[in-house]
Symmetry: C2
Subunit: 216 residues, 2 copies
DNA sequence: AGTTTTTTATTGAACGTTCAATCAATAAAG
DNA sequence: CTTTATTGATTGAACGTTCAATAAAAAACT
């Protein structure tokens, strides 16, 4: 039933169907036939809109990463006070946002992460996203502690966030977003508490934000 | 060139070849032909010794998990003093042991983790291992803090360890074992420091170790 | 307003490829 | 001469892609 302007609708439909299929049977068994069936369309249409299965997979990963980035940005925008701590909390909240933390998303995310080890195009997407998260974290920590410490803190918090996703994706009960958020926030507390006592005396903090950006 | 008693040799050979193949091209493209070529044998032999490809993959995952467990156990045995903190440090050291943290192992480990989301047999292996790590952590933390705190600390440290592996597996430069160890140990420091101040006054600590075991 | 033509969207069967598993043949060791 | 270990060609199933056919909608025309 061809209407005009189907392209954006079909693309969304197929991306969603891809996540559903991966959630159901895993990336390895997510065939084009199965994805198409999930979307209620024919298999051929995938090549038509995405140039092939790989194109669809890449588009799906793009969607997940941009959704995640958008959720973080939204949390940042909601902030009333602009302290480094509040910013860091917003990053955590964004990463465990209800709209993001669903079984299909978590499982698809992990599947792509594993897959990106050997697919250069996916690896690039992953890396860009990764660096952005790390940069954001580091820029904020930098305002509260020396560079070395800030780097370590960023690495640690990033690892906690990814680790919680990872474990959540595998757990039979699904990712417990609320518990994960609490664990990540508690980690942040401890990371800041460590240098809070020092921060009072040594005022290395909050100078310019230009040097705060750290490209690993 | 058939000699007797080839079975254990071939099994080891093929398991190692599996990791090498996954390191090289990923689980999705690790065909039996490629694995066999890596081991310098014919493809048919895989079905002969492992009953099929799935059997080989399961055996490979078993190997990785048992190696990891063995490394942790070895670090614990080396301990001179038996404080909870030393035990926790040993768990961390074991998880980032040089013999374990290689590219083939890290990549295979992650590939299996992703795969186990949809393969019940692998999921079971993963879960058993997971619970063991969590139990070990919780038993030690329990000697230093109240149960609720101990659970949160265990979850956090487990997430940090897995998160560091995860990020290490993807990073182009490979997993930086030394840096990861430092980050994990620093996290442990902070987790203990938080309740150290309390531990001095309230002596909830080091009583019996029977109630310390916590099955999640 | 009705009819024809063009454009756009979609289908699904056919094709070629790839893979895991099988098994009869083979060759060394006991 | 029997047993054990190994091979590699073969088989059948499954997959992604392609493309001619189709059908609906839009545009053009009378």
């Amino acid at each position: 039933m061809p209407k005009v302007g189907m392209e954006p609708i079909r693309r969304q439909q197929l991306i969603k169907a891809t996540m559903a299929a991966i959630d159901e049977v895993g990336l390895a068994d997510a065939t084009v036939a199965r994805i198409a069936r999930h979307a209620g369309v024919s298999a051929g249409i995938i090549s038509h809109y995405f140039g092939g299965k790989d194109g669809l997979l890449e588009a799906t990963m793009r969607q997940i990463l941009s959704d995640l980035g958008e959720a973080v940005a939204a949390c940042r925008r909601k902030l009333r006070n602009d302290t480094p701590r509040a910013r860091l909390e917003a990053i955590i909240e964004g990463n465990f946002d209800r709209s993001q933390v669903t079984d299909p998303v978590a499982k698809t995310w992990l599947a792509f992460w594993a897959s990106s080890m050997h697919k250069p195009r996916l690896a690039r997407l992953q890396q860009v996203n990764d660096r952005r998260l790390y940069s954001n974290l580091c820029a904020q920590f930098r305002r509260l502690m020396p560079l070395d410490e800030a780097r370590l803190a960023s690495r640690t918090l990033a690892a906690v966030i990814d680790g919680l996703w990872l474990r959540g994706a595998l757990t039979p009960e699904g990712l417990d977003a609320e518990g994960a958020r609490r664990a990540a926030l508690a980690t942040l507390d401890r990371l800041l508490a460590a240098s809070d006592s020092v921060a009072a005396s040594s005022s290395v903090a909050a100078s310019d934000s230009a040097t705060a950006i750290d490209a690993r």
